[in-house]
Amino acid sequence: MSITLEQINKSFGAFRALDDISLEIGDGQLVGLLGPSGSGKTTLLRIIAGLESADRGRILFQGEDVTGLHVRERRVGFVFQHYALFRHMTVAENIAFGLDVLPRKSRPVAGEIRRRVGELLEMVQLSHLAGRYPSQLSGGQKQRIALARALAMQPQILLLDEPFGALDARVRKDLRRWLRNLHDELHFTSVFVTHDQEEALELSDQVVVMSAGRIEQVDQPQALYARPDSRFVFDFLGHVNVFDGTLDGRLLQQGEAWIRLPENREGASSVQVYLRPHEVRLQLQPVAHAHLPLQVEAINLIGAEVRLELRPCGWEAAQLWEIGITHAEFNAWQPRRGDRCFAVPDVGHLFGAGNAAPETLYWG
């Protein structure tokens, strides 16, 4: 079931929570709403569910207007951040709740409900916990029961609010993979809220990046990472190294450091070049198109590559630069804290004044 949002607006008092949000979510997609806290992503999710009402705008499910429809009638599955399991009911009773409260004429008979609950418990691989109470479960188990409860009504739309936020890293990874499989198997449309970029990029077909009540960018994960539209998305998704300078012709300069752009520009202006860690190499000597002296500040050996934190020498950056090198390179070079080196950009993203999308630069 597709979801269409048309010009959704929502304010809490003077605070503008959602500012003219329009969004199209295709049937069967798994979409992540990603943004810092206060960006309005949870409010948007709650409006889709009907737990909150928009001040203005329309919501359509499969082309049908559901704006005026009560939560109860929207028939969506909703998974809460803190699970919201009914604490006085057993796991089985929790899962059966949606079926139990159906009006008598559409309610399945008791045996049928029991069978459905059994199936769902099997699906979340927790059949042995049917008689337990929520307070006797671990966080990961609670979350799976919450999912089973939401899926008991066979919703065509599943909404998840920070579904893995309260879990530790390992359980999180497991559950993420499990949700992805479940989604592919059952073909519902899912929207989940997260502030974890890794989670959003790994899990989603489409990522919606939000900030301050607006949508910054909607794209597939790879595209989003490779071609961010704005400084915000750049900053928010992964680390970025920023070089701030004054551009004159081809030369972008700040202090002792400079970068020579591949092509000539008109006039002098203040611009920024954003560089992803993997788009920069480190060398002991500067090259013809860049002179970016850095000093090794910290070395992190854990992971697939060695991550170096670097402090600019003779120029300034708001944040330390971060560049990854392979373990082989690291072993050959053997850098230590305080060693000097030079950054060599291969690809960069040039932001001019204003909020225009960046221009991608290629050297080499």
């Binding site: 939560v71 809460f80 709740f97």
Partner: protein, 287 residues
């Protein structure tokens, strides 16, 4: 057991024993002795006299009126308390904080003052009382007035028990129930009520105890008509002033028994609440 070398505050033996003896002594002197004395006095003429006093016409009328007041007050305040707690914990509206503070007014105001206020409003010379008089409705110096002031005096008990609990539990479970299709009534009966049932019972027990025992406010609006508007506490005072000490203590013994039962129920409810908050961990091992 080895004695530890670290001395915590109040660890010395004599401090501990002095405090314990003091507490036990005071409890004996101020609580247990008077309680025993009530029964000793009540039965001083033998069980038969006690029974005769208890089944005295006016005493029976007083018991009846007291039960009526409690039977009306408790359900009224149960509804009011649940409604109020739901209102202030589930909705945001201007004046919400003020309302939470105002709930406590009946506790802050002396019951006598409350009684006088009602007399001023609903008495025959009062603002509303005059108009009611013209329509042949008498509230003061009759049982409706007694119920009104009792409701006022006991109205915070249920709400005060529920508000902190409902605030702590939040509204997520209720939202989950609505998303799953529960109607308003199903939501209340199957999710909200089970979550607050013990706190609710606790509030009801306290409300009932106070409704049965209220003296100050009731004495102002009752008019002390023997057999008509005398509740049990007022009746006791009247008997005592008539130099019928045994009769007074007989009725008092009845109130004391109610108090003891209340205490028992209250302890049971507290025990259940504690158990609900900390589910048994042994169960986890067995499962």
């Amino acid at each position: 057991m080895q004695r530890t070398s670290v001395h915590r505050v109040g660890e010395q033996r004599w401090v501990r024993w002095t405090l314990i003896c003091l507490a036990l002594g005071l409890t004996l002197l101020l609580l247990v002795m008077p309680l025993l004395l009530i029964f000793v006095e009540a039965f001083s003429g033998g069980a038969q006299t006690w029974w005769a006093n208890l089944t005295d016409y006016y005493t029976l009328r007083a018991i009846g009126l007291t039960l009526l007041v409690a039977a009306l007050t408790v359900p009224l305040n149960l509804l009011f308390g649940v409604f109020l707690a739901w209102l202030v914990t589930r909705f945001e509206f201007p004046g919400r904080k003020l309302l939470i503070t105002l709930i406590d007014i009946p506790f802050a105001v002396s019951p006598v003052v409350a009684g006088l206020l009602y007399l001023l409003l609903y008495g025959s010379n009062g603002w509303l009382g005059g108009w009611l008089m013209q329509h042949d409705v008498q509230l003061m110096f009759a049982w409706p007035g007694i119920v009104m002031v009792t409701v006022f005096v006991t109205c915070p008990f249920v709400a005060r028990e529920l508000i902190p609990l409902m605030q702590q539990q939040g509204r997520e479970e209720e939202e989950a129930a609505v998303v799953l299709g529960a109607s308003g009534w199903q939501l209340f009966r199957r999710v909200t009520l089970p979550n607050i049932q013990w706190a609710l019972l606790y509030g009801v027990v306290l409300t009932n105890a106070r409704a049965v025992g209220e003296f100050g406010a009731v004495s102002v609006v009752s008019g002390n008509i023997r057999g008509e508007t005398n509740t049990l506490p007022l009746h006791i005072e009247l008997l005592y002033q008539d130099y019928n000490a045994v009769g007074a203590f007989t009725s008092a013994s009845l109130l004391a028994v109610i108090a003891l039962v209340t205490l028992l129920v209250k302890s049971f409810v507290e025990w259940r609440q504690a158990r609900q908050r900390a589910p048994l961990h042994e169960q986890q091992e067995q499962g």
